[in-house]
């Protein structure tokens, strides 16, 4: 039977043999749950009762829920603070590291290690740093130089940046590596030509380096934005009982989803929020594709 197949038919046969298990996997573990999530968001499913279709009631509840809006705003605060700060630091590091030969690999490694380590473990180390005197490193350092103590994680104003700091810290190394690769890809001749024309370093940076780095920058903006919008591990482990306090000041969307689903067991309400997260991330991805194409 098999021997009578043409070469093309044999190829198609083997292709589907190889794809059979993965295709089933993707249908069952990726596609079905995606549609399931959309469906659950239209029900009042809690683990303790049969799901009942309730239309858009979860979405209505969400838009009227002040906690949801607070959480939504927090999520974008993480992004609005985290993105520019992290990109500015990582670009500066990469820009200078690119010219450094002496111990280049070692220094690059120092910036990169935090990216690979367990975020949960590091969240606890940072939580310890933020403790009041005599425990916390930061407050001890402040008091050593005669500056006032800071509440950090206990303050409604300071808690969010304090939780964000280890997330920025952990992501810097990745951004530096990508920036370095982008800088390497710029042909040396551009710089030589500019130098022969007597152009200053600042002008070279703005007129040559940054414009040529646009695809790299765009890639990092999208990847990092998605990362900041999905922040969870740090908040869960650095706030009291993982609640994103004080007074929800640090609670991001993903933590609110987790709480709705696995503390309140309100699966319908939780999935409605995941649809919002999905839409936000989708918009960012589409904008990226547009921008890349317009180049």
């Amino acid at each position: 039977m098999y021997d009578r197949l043409t070469i093309h038919q044999k190829q198609a046969f083997w292709a589907w043999v190889f794809l059979a298990v993965p295709v089933v996997f993707f249908i069952v573990v990726r596609f079905y749950p995606t549609f399931d999530a959309a469906w659950i968001s239209l029900t009042n499913w809690s683990l303790f009762r049969e799901p009942k279709f309730i239309g858009l009631a979860n979405y209505k509840e969400m838009f009227q829920d002040p906690v949801f809006w607070k959480v939504f705003a927090n999520t974008f605060k993480y992004l609005a603070l985290g993105l520019p700060v992290s990109l500015l630091i990582s670009f500066t590091v990469a820009y200078y590291l690119d010219r450094v030969r002496f111990m280049h690999g070692l220094i690059r490694g120092l910036y990169f290690v935090p990216y690979l380590t367990t975020a949960v473990a590091m969240a606890w180390v940072w939580r310890w740093f933020y403790q009041p005197v005599p425990i916390g490193l930061f407050n001890d350092a402040l008091s050593a130089v005669g500056l006032p103590q800071q509440p950090f994680l206990r303050s409604v104003d300071q808690a969010l940046p304090s939780v964000l700091a280890p997330a920025i810290w952990a992501g810097l190394g990745f951004q530096v590596i990508i920036f370095l690769a982008g800088l390497r890809a710029i042909p040396e001749t551009y710089y030589e030509a500019a130098r022969i024309d007597g152009v200053g370093a600042w002008t070279i940076l703005w007129e040559i380096t940054l414009p040529l780095l646009k695809p790299t920058l765009l890639f990092l903006i999208v990847i990092s934005s998605i990362g900041f919008l999905r922040i969870f591990d740090q908040v869960y482990n650095m706030t009291v009982d993982g609640q994103g306090g004080p007074l929800n000041a640090t609670r991001p969307l993903v933590l609110n989803i987790y709480n709705s689903a696995f503390v309140d067991y309100d699966m319908g309400y939780a999935t409605a929020q995941t649809m919002v997260l999905f839409l936000v991330l989708l918009v960012i991805t589409i904008v990226q594709l547009r921008l890349l194409r317009s180049k």
Binding site: F25, V29, I40, F112, V113, T117, T118, I223, A261
Partner: protein
Amino acid sequence: MSAALHRPRIAPGRIVAWTLLALGGIVMIMPFVFMISTSLKTPEQVYDLRLIPLRPTLKNYVELFADARFLNWFVNSLVTSTIVTLSVLFFDSLVGYTLAKYRFRGRSFVFIAILSTLMIPTEMLVIPWYLMSASLGWIDTYWGIMFPGLITGFGVFLMRQFFSTVPDELIDAARIDGLSEFRIWWEIALPLVTPAMSALAIFTFLGNWTAFLWPLIVTSEKDLFTVPVGLSSFASENLTRWEMVMTGAAVSTIPTLIVFIVFQKYIIRGVVLSGLKG
């Protein structure tokens, strides 16, 4: 002529830049340094912030492992991360190869469908996964921890890119030699993409070792926790015993540090190659 004449002059600006970069790099690893230093201190010494403990002790580590829970979590993480990594290597490369090297109807549809799963955030899937696991009895099992990650869209995409660079002539020649289709993939094509495979292996392993949200959801029995989930619960129980929290953090982090030190070259190349971790 002496070599010194040819050596470029080292500008003072460069020395300043190097020094600042190096200092910044040291600041970057200070959390690790303080973590390890504190894990070697007795409770009375914790408030003493000197970097090198006066009388370093492994007492905390002994206490941590005497409890057996950490060892248990270690085994859980090791087993689940290893199996997921092997599965990802096998299936992602097989699918990537098929999509790169076979001509058949539906090929681009399958590829685009798999690619589109990259746009779906895990956070949206965890609730359906949880409900699925609850009804099938997968809560608090290794299978429950592992099943969502056994094949990844990202790995398929990466491997397809790399298999595209394998010349068709090589595969055709192997066919003429009478090798089976499976063995052509396994013996001819696969060895040519080892750099991509090693990058995929390292990132899949580390990604699963550090994963938090899904293992947190799918496990409720302490015996089934992975290292990050276990550490999180352990640290909340020992909130005021910072030397123990730091010991737990160190124990969770040291394996990833070792992986980094051993595979640094592959990892950095892999980041550039693939652009992301997950």
